[in-house]
């Protein structure tokens, strides 16, 4: 079974995003970038499937600027077999990303697409579901447990109020939630090995996919700032303050 893992290069999760003063976006110059944490979880899960003998090949794919190849190298160091970079300087909407992934899937024919539930930059939580709809493959989102057997994937999903388990026929799209696994750190020897693994680069324009954005960003602004209040000395003071504030 071939597993395709789409990974996105995003602002590191420890960095607080700053809005540009001209309100055109978020300042990403000289900011630490990393693999989206949910994509790391997806890569880990795919590699574990390979280690269990369920998957035969793990292919990582990223759509982004040339630097996204670093993100793909991380995926390779974690255990992916090869990688594809679809190069573009355009910032794509989730629907465009899903369409590009569909084009890659037509070439690669994986039986499982294992991806993140959400990219922590746009916080869209959309690409996996869109891809599933475009391919007419079943989807299993927000996975906290996955088993693949007999042409089916059994997935436990994090839902409002608890957990739901569904079974989907392969090929399918599965999106990872936080508790699916804890991603490994790539070891130094594996980082060295990853440098020799295949990383194919395609130009976005070569795929013939309509990626025009339907959304115009009017402006990007800072949210209203909360300021620190006061420190109270005792629990009694706290209750008095809360009563005065009218919330008790």
């Amino acid at each position: 079974m071939k597993v395709l893992v789409p990974v996105k290069r995003v602002i590191d999760y420890n960095v607080k995003a700053r809005v540009k003063s001209d309100q055109t976006g978020v300042d990403l110059a000289n900011v630490k970038m990393s693999m989206n944490p949910f994509c790391e979880i997806a890569v880990e899960e795919a590699v574990r499937l390979k280690e269990k003998g369920v998957a035969t090949e793990v292919v990582a794919v990223s759509i982004g600027p040339p630097q996204a190849s670093e993100t793909l190298r991380t995926a390779l160091a974690m255990g992916a077999d090869r990688a594809i970079l679809v190069q573009t300087d355009q910032d794509l909407d989730p629907l465009a990303v899903a369409k590009v992934l569909k084009a890659i899937i037509a070439e690669e024919s994986p039986e499982l697409v294992m991806m993140g539930k959400q990219a922590i930059d746009g916080d869209n939580n959309a690409v996996g579901q869109m891809l599933s709809a475009l391919l007419d493959w079943p989807q299993a989102t927000f996975a906290s447990e996955l088993t693949v057997e007999g042409g089916k994937a059994k997935v436990t999903r994090e839902v409002d109020g608890g957990l739901q388990t569904i079974e989907v026929n392969l090929p399918a799209v599965v999106t990872a939630d936080l508790r699916l696994n804890e991603p490994r750190y790539a070891s130094l020897p594996n980082i060295m090995k990853a440098k020799k693994k295949e990383l194919a680069v395609k130009e976005l324009s070569s795929l013939g996919v309509d990626t025009a954005s339907r959304l115009k960003v009017v402006k990007v602004t800072e949210p209203p700032k909360r300021t620190a209040g006061i420190k109270v000395e005792t629990a009694d003071d706290l209750v008095t303050s809360l009563k005065t504030a009218g919330v008790l």
Binding site: I11, Q118, K231
Partner: protein, 314 residues
């Protein structure tokens, strides 16, 4: 323009999120219908009909709709969109599961987690864990939005919209429901509660979490939340997680106990009216957003707080 709102429910009760999303829809158009897709919609449809300002209620029933299978709910909505210019879906884990399918099938963008309707085609949404707000204008002829319910006031009751049944979609061929573990709690819903008491990694164990956080929540009639660290460690169930990737809450009062205040946690609670932090580390980032901070070990602070509440007649 006509707008379809997708009702939020647990197959037995209609959730307040529905009323909140109706408010967002009414900011776009006066023609707002509500779709209730569930296992059995009779009482849910009747409840939705009471929402003021709604034109019509549509109901569709099937086992798969009740299970919330994304393919079923998505297909149902896509089939109805011929009559609508926009669909507004609560940004719950349920809604986020099927909304992008609808957008993809209609070949339009999805606008995720809308917190403000500027006009019928322009919306504000948080990005980067709420550290930036993006105003976007949509050129699509049909609009698909998920709406963050905490950002809107609930539409009032008092309506009497007609209820109309619509045929359910065929059962998805490639997806099967296996089972579900939904915890029924007597406490208020996390998303809708006036007060939320959340515990973090400091609790150290599930027993301690139950011993410290839950009695305080019960005393205040509050919902219980948790940080990711507390959930990951198994101190609290996954649906308690508040944050960028968990639930977003905006209660009147949010009490964070033994939570450091990571960006991702703040994303889920910084719109609360009053924030209280109890943490033994006076430099914890949570204090930068707290209206009232108590620098103290929770082991003494929480019992003291229980006593102070009792003394205050609560």
């Amino acid at each position: 323009m006509a707008v379809l709102v997708i009702a939020d429910h647990d197959n037995t009760t209609l959730k307040d999120n529905t009323h909140k999303v109706v408010t967002a829809a009414l900011a776009m158009s006066g023609d707002v219908d509500v779709l209730v897709a569930s296992a059995s919609s009779a009482t849910l449809g009747a409840a939705a009909a009471k929402i003021a300002g709604v034109r019509k209620i549509l109901t569709a029933d099937s086992a798969e709709l009740g299970q919330g299978l994304a393919e079923a709910v998505g297909d149902l909505i896509v089939g109805l969109m011929g009559g609508y210019d926009a669909v507004l879906i609560p940004a719950t884990s349920q809604g986020k599961n099927f909304a992008p399918r609808v957008a993809a099938k209609l070949d339009v963008a999805q606008i995720s987690e809308v917190i403000e309707v500027v006009s019928a085609d322009t919306f504000v949404r948080p990005i980067y864990a709420g550290n930036a707000l993006e105003t976007v204008q949509s050129a699509d002829t049909k609009k698909v939005l998920t709406v963050r319910p905490t950002a809107f006031a609930a539409a009032a009751e008092g309506g009497s919209a007609p209820v109309e049944g619509v045929p359910p979609p065929p059962a998805p061929a490639k997806t099967h429901f296996v089972d579900q573990k939904i915890v029924k709690s007597a406490r208020p819903d996390l998303g809708a509660a006036k007060i939320v008491v959340s515990g973090g990694r400091a609790m150290g164990s599930a027993e301690e979490f139950q011993k410290v956080i839950e009695p305080l929540a019960d005393k205040l009639g509050a919902a219980v939340g948790a940080s990711r660290a507390a959930v990951d460690a198994g101190y609290a169930p996954n649906d308690y997680q508040v944050g960028q990737t968990g639930k977003v809450v905006a209660p009147e009062l949010y009490i964070a106990i033994g939570i450091s205040g990571a960006i991702q946690h703040l994303a889920g609670m910084k719109d609360s009216k009053i924030i209280v932090a109890i943490n033994k580390d006076g430099d914890a980032p949570i204090f930068q957003v707290a209206d009232f901070g108590l620098v103290s070990d929770y082991k003494t602070a929480v019992p003291d707080l229980m006593n102070a509440l009792t003394a205050a007649g609560i």
